[in-house]
Symmetry: C2
């Protein structure tokens, strides 16, 4: 059963703990890899090309966009950030499941380009918990927290466009749910037609 | 998140090990229950009404069919066997996941009546394995085995009508896949709309 890997698009509001859940998930899924983004910003000390980012010039990035070579992209403080299609495809062809941790807007771009991707939205167990988590960081002032909460509400309101909701009430539980989603997606009929064929042909 | 339980319809050819996989699955899923079938045959010694079967007269059974009170039924050696809708609904309303282990024909009847049911087909890893398992029982003669294999092939050919395929290469693995399917189904968007609503309303 050496099938093509899944493309797992994971979003969720800031403060929901996506990163922690994904780290936990990856611990038990050696078959899954993080997608490496492309960016036009300069590497910071210690950042390696192809590991932390695919670093490229603005011209290269624009060329890639023109060739439909990015699954999604956005511009932050004058720098382009995006997901190169080739890297994702290569990994999937090798049977690796690729994780794309991106914002809702980027996810919706991927939905257009990869209809077979699986879309997972990480939710807080309640709005209050999200509020507490954002405040609990202790690094932001009231104004920043309010701004983040407004942004979070806007992201949450688009959760319905995803295939699955993973509630992060507990990191281990949330990671297990993600794991279950990946396993179940691989048991889906359209992934399994080849297996049925093989079993039926044998005699 | 006290949602309605799932209805899990499980089929697979004779000899594939459905029963063993389900037993293993139920060990780690105290929330899941087997559906109790109705039958018009007489109770055997030790069989309890409502536990092993819902025993009823032919008149009662026919009345139930007329009232659309069975999700599926079949007749074997002059006795009716079927799944009473009420029992399944009651369990699901209590949040229990209900397992229906039935043949393809029955499963297709359930599909008509419960479009929200989840259909899982248990497959052997290969036709040869199924053949070995059926022969390995050692209780049947060549003719019976051939007959069973023909029946199995006919069942296998209808596997595509199911939502998921669980390959039973190893009981624990197959049970884990079933577990994953149940967990993933509960993370599906349509199961989660209430959660999103709650999180968004809170402030």
């Amino acid at each position: 059963m050496n099938n093509k890997g899944l493309l797992l698009v994971v979003s969720g509001p800031s403060g929901v703990g996506k990163g922690t859940v994904l780290k936990e998930f990856l611990k038990t899924n050696p078959n899954a890899v993080y997608s490496v983004s492309a960016t036009t910003r300069s590497p910071r000390p210690g950042e390696k090309n192809g590991v932390h980012y695919h670093f490229m010039s603005k011209e290269e990035f624009l060329h890639l966009i023109q060739q439909d070579g990015v699954l999604e992209y956005a511009v932050y403080s004058d720098h382009y950030y995006g997901t190169p299609r080739e890297f994702v495809n290569q990994m999937r062809e090798q049977g690796k499941d690729v994780i794309l941790e991106i914002e809702v807007q980027g996810a919706m771009q991927v939905k257009q380009k990869c209809p077979d991707a699986v879309f997972v939205f990480v939710m807080p167990p309640s709005y209050q918990v999200l509020k507490d988590r954002l405040s609990g960081r202790g690094t932001e002032d009231e104004k920043t927290i309010t701004k983040r909460l407004t942004a979070a509400k806007s992201e949450l309101s688009r959760a319905e466009q995803y295939d699955y909701i993973v509630v992060n009430d507990q990191v281990e539980k949330a990671a297990w749910r993600l794991n279950a989603i990946v396993t179940a997606e691989k048991c889906k009929m359209n992934q399994m037609k080849q297996v049925i064929k093989e079993v039926l042909q044998y005699d």
